[in-house]
């Protein structure tokens, strides 16, 4: 079953900005879905739409197989969220903040110290949250999202403001929630590297359009395809004629021969063939495109 199924979401803000253009998302139950895109791509807008924080203009939204508009309250009971900046009442302590959400969700009170410990805020006592550091606020916001033991977490840049150690901790925590309690996660980020080790599925959004959606493996596959091999030679025409029968996709750009990536032994053999045919090889380059650069190429038009 899909935890989230959103179809054809289109959103235009009052000022005329088309923030989302026909975006469809599918988040499988039990998965960790990384929702990636650069600043201003439409991540937050999508998540706000999913939660009903923006009036839906076009499209359909389903959670757990149920229509959101029809079953809003039952659905929201199962969702924990953190959208953009932490939502924290700064004149109250961490415990008081959680207490007022506890009243609304009517979850057991002992969840409060539990989630505080979970996010590493076990000992803030009577300190007002207004005096918290950015990272501490972020942790508290995650505690709020976790408080009522939801089965789906929607987190908008959850590691925002955390130090490197905190980021690792947060990833571990999210992974543990997913693996031990089967919680589904939808996590947005503008850094692929940051969530690459965490996610099972990826959606890439840019300028309000979903460019890619699939498993992390599928993205790796794309990466494989995108990486390439370059020979710099003195006679590209001859080189091209020599290998075109074997590699139909080969191209020449001035003195450079461009091929899809090959195994090391194949590279050596190809080089030998060039030399045997009297073609001088000045250089061999392999461009390993990591996920980050795929992401960059996809989002760079």
């Amino acid at each position: 079953m899909n935890s989230i199924e959103a179809q054809h979401l289109t959103h235009r803000f009052a000022n005329g900005d088309l923030a989302l253009d026909d975006v469809s998302l599918r988040v499988k139950e039990g998965s960790i879905y990384g929702f990636l895109g650069p600043n201003g791509a439409g991540k937050t807008t999508t998540l706000r739409l999913l939660l009903g924080l923006l009036k839906k203009q076009k499209g359909h939204i389903q959670f757990f197989g149920q229509d959101f508009a029809a079953k809003r309250i039952e659905i929201l009971r199962q969702i924990g969220s953190l959208i953009e900046s932490p939502s924290i009442y700064s004149h109250l302590t961490a415990t008081e903040n959680l207490l007022l959400w506890q009243k609304l969700y009517q979850c057991p009170k002992n969840r409060i110290p539990e989630v505080l410990r979970l996010v590493g805020l076990g000992d803030t006592g009577h300190k007002k949250t207004g005096q918290f550091s950015l990272g501490m606020k972020q942790r508290l916001a995650i505690a709020v999202a976790l408080l009522h033991s939801p089965q789906l977490l929607i987190l908008d840049e959850p590691t925002n403001g955390l130090d490197p150690h905190g980021m690792v901790e947060m990833r571990e925590l999210l992974k543990a929630l997913n693996q031990q309690q089967g919680i589904t996660l939808l996590i947005s980020s503008h850094l692929l590297a940051e969530i690459e080790k965490l996610v099972t599925d990826v959606g890439i959004i840019h300028r309000g359009q979903l460019l890619f959606e699939g498993s992390l493996q599928a993205l790796h596959q794309k990466q494989q395809e995108a990486s390439s091999l370059v020979f710099v030679v003195n006679d590209p025409t001859a080189a091209l004629a020599l290998i075109q029968p074997v590699f139909p996709s080969v191209r020449a750009e001035s003195d450079r021969i461009l091929l899809p990536s090959l195994a090391q032994t194949d590279i050596a053999r190809l080089n030998q063939q060039f030399v045997n045919q009297g073609i001088d090889v000045y250089g061999i380059q392999t461009t390993q495109s990591d996920l980050e650069s795929i992401f960059m190429t996809m989002t760079n038009d």
Binding site: L53, I73, I83, S85, S90, H91, E96, W101
Partner: protein, 258 residues
């Protein structure tokens, strides 16, 4: 049921908030001044305590400062502060993603504001009572007031002032829900209040929504105003409250960005 939980949650938010202190300090401020003044002018007080209308005088004096400026300003500030808490802390998005209807949120918040106001009236009456008793207790030469405390009169007076404040609550609530900037509800509040102060002498002054506290105070003083002879200002206040609250409710539900 959800409404009660929502009310409890909203009530927790007022803890230690600016609005909370405004209510506490605001309700004891004038009684405290009255107490200090009466202790300092002990001779004057000695002449007052035997009077049969001792408590009526105290009521009228205490409300004088309260009704004209402090109460309307306090209601403007407290309503706006409580509502704007959500904007200031960026918490609307979290609140609107909780499993409750938007209606519940709207009415629970309004109920908390009204409860705070009720709390203010109770505290103010307690304060007035003590400002009548405490100076005599402190000064060995002055007797306690001879007249009995007219609880009913005090309660009724407060009841009318409560009703007369309701339009202020409703309009401030409406504006505070719509605009992120705190200056909006503040300037609307001060603007309408000033207009109302200017309009009290006018024949149709009662059509302005923030005039009713002023009119009620003049009535308490026994003064007749050109506008109040033939109209029931309390009904006008209730009417305004109902109308503006309804408008506020609809506008809140229609908001496209929550």
């Amino acid at each position: 049921m959800q409404f009660i939980h929502s009310f409890q949650s909203e009530w927790l938010k007022t803890k230690r908030s600016l609005a909370f202190w405004l209510v506490v300090v605001g309700s004891f401020f004038i009684p405290l001044l009255m107490t200090v003044g009466r202790v300092i002018y002990a001779d004057n007080l000695a002449k007052l305590v035997p009077l049969p209308n001792f408590w009526e005088q105290l009521l009228s004096q205490s409300w004088q400062f309260m009704a004209i400026l402090l109460l309307p300003m306090g209601v403007i500030l407290a309503t706006s502060l409580i509502t704007q808490l959500e904007f200031r802390n960026n918490t609307w998005k979290q609140l609107h993603a909780t499993p409750q209807t938007f209606s519940t949120i709207f009415w629970a918040k309004l109920a908390v504001i009204l409860s705070m106001m009720l709390g203010f009236f109770v505290l103010f009456n307690v304060g007035m009572y003590f400002s009548g008793i405490v100076p005599s207790a402190l000064l060995p030469t002055v007797n306690l007031p001879a007249a009995a405390f007219p609880l009913r009169l005090y309660a009724e007076t407060s009841g009318f002032f409560f009703v007369d404040c309701l339009p202020i609550v409703a309009l401030q609530y409406l504006v505070s829900l719509q605009f992120r900037n705190f200056l909006m509800p503040l300037s609307v509040g001060i603007g309408v209040l000033l207009a109302s102060m200017i309009a009290v002498e006018w024949k149709y002054g009662y059509t302005l929504p923030y005039t009713y506290c002023l009119y009620n105070f003049f009535k308490l003083r026994g003064a007749t105003m050109p506008a109040t002879g033939h109209t029931n200002i309390h009904l006008w206040a209730l009417g305004y409250f109902a109308l503006v609250t309804l408008a506020s409710y609809v506008l809140y539900l229609l908001k496209s960005e929550k």
